[in-house]
Symmetry: C2
Subunit: 283 residues, 2 copies
């Protein structure tokens, strides 16, 4: 029976570390603070924001909410971002995307101060992830994957890791973080021909395909670790991942559940980035 | 006997295309122009510059040489880059690196106007390569690999491609360009454990390891295409690649020679970028 790599345990460990760091900052009169910028009221954004605010507040991080109408002009949005950039009491910025169509996302991304860009939106930080330079902020979900494997003592050095998915939010940056850990990385996607065969060779299989239960026992070899980054709703309206977990429990050595896996760790990583951004203002 | 994928043929084809485009620009009173910025007189830089100037000039591109002493301050260098950025007669900028130690390369990179950054130094362009966004400029060597395979009609879609090397100038950006062409990409490096076995599975093997002749017949499977990005000097003082070409000629379907392979195409790609940058000023 596969070991379940539960996100809650990873989050607890991050929380323990952050509590100390928040307390050190507090002694210096600093309270880590994140600006959450939301345009309109997309239900996904509202729900994510609500959960994030709860978790961040619980960790001693102040959340300042900036909510604008979707008709805001690009110039107005940029002006607001510049005000937030120059507000020394704010350490991190989270901007919900996609932005409305009349706004050029590239023009906005570059405006977010790299030092406050805790969600890796600015190309300066994205290029750092690409370069393996850890002085910036990586996207939260890929980093949550690395932190989870690290917490459970699953080494990456020299391992054959297969990533399904080549998105700019998960697949590609995750592949760079894995390379940084000296894994040998194979990036697969919708056009990959012999997907099953390739996945079967993986010592660690990471699925970020965005399709419910596409990976089952025919993709996994005995003793592999399977990380499921997907969050989908199945035919019964229940949350599920990209992996048909029940089918691989007897084959895999370890697997992240959905819900309760990587998704749980992502907000903790966002919190860690905010605290780190605050620390960098004093060091 | 493997087909030799000669760079000169690819360069000729690029030249033919560029001649037309340079002529169209000429009718509009524009002569594509590259600024080549060199600090000091490193023999490699001087030799590369000499060859590049010859080839670019031959293609109808003007070369403006900016040569500074290595003691130039960071501020002075940036001031000079800003002057070049704002000079409308200059379309592309090539800056030799590494820069002297007293200069923060990150601070300089971001100063090169993305529209003139034909060698992909600015993180804005690097992030675009990472994102699969073709509106910027990719690094020249990885693009030369893609152009060579394209010229010789070797499809990438769905192919298992193995890249040896994870540098930011070749391995990583090349992997992103290959993904963009829908190849399945495996990135190997010095810490990869079962390198031979992985390489044997490649339909296309691309070697950018920076070590003379490390790939021989034991790494290549029958019918594979092998691209050799290495440029080294062997024990007899002769130029050689990362592949022991003689040993794989009876196994591989096609192979790029060294010298006369990818290296030959790189300057043609630099020329294409300069012409494209010039075209973008009028469109």
């Amino acid at each position: 029976m596969a070991l379940l790599l539960k996100g809650i345990e990873v989050s607890k460990s991050i929380k323990k570390d952050l509590e100390k760091r928040v307390s050190v900052l507090s002694e210096k009169g600093i309270k880590p603070c994140i600006a959450i910028i939301r345009l309109g009221d997309r239900p996904d954004d509202v729900s994510y924001e609500k959960n994030a605010v709860k978790k961040l507040t619980d960790l001693g991080i102040e959340c300042k909410l900036f909510r604008f109408e979707t008709v805001i002009t690009q110039d107005e949005l940029i002006t607001n971002i510049r005000v937030i950039n120059s507000d020394a009491s704010i350490h991190g910025i989270l901007l919900f995307r996609p932005l409305p169509r009349h706004i050029n996302e590239d023009a906005v991304k570059i405006e977010i101060s790299p030092g406050k860009d805790i969600d890796c939106i600015n190309p300066v930080n994205l290029a750092k992830v690409f370069a393996g330079d850890e002085s910036g902020f990586a996207p939260c979900t890929p980093e949550a994957v690395i932190k989870t494997l690290e917490y459970y003592g699953i080494p990456l050095e020299g391992k054959n890791v297969v990533v399904i998915g080549r998105s700019l939010v998960v697949g590609k940056p995750l592949s760079m973080l894995l390379l940084k850990e000296n894994a040998t990385v194979t990036i697969c996607h919708t056009r990959t021909r012999n997907l099953k065969e390739i996945c079967k060779k993986a010592e660690i299989l990471i699925v970020a395909a965005g399709k419910a239960k596409i990976v089952d026992d025919t993709y996994v070899s005995q003793g592999a670790t399977v990380v499921d980054v997907g969050i989908n709703v199945d035919e019964d309206g229940k949350l599920c991942g990209d992996v048909d977990t029940d089918k691989i429990l007897d084959i895999a050595e370890a697997v992240t559940p959905v819900p309760g896996g990587i998704g749980t760790v992502t907000t903790s990583v966002l919190a860690e980035h905010t605290v780190r951004a605050a620390e960098q203002t004093v060091s």
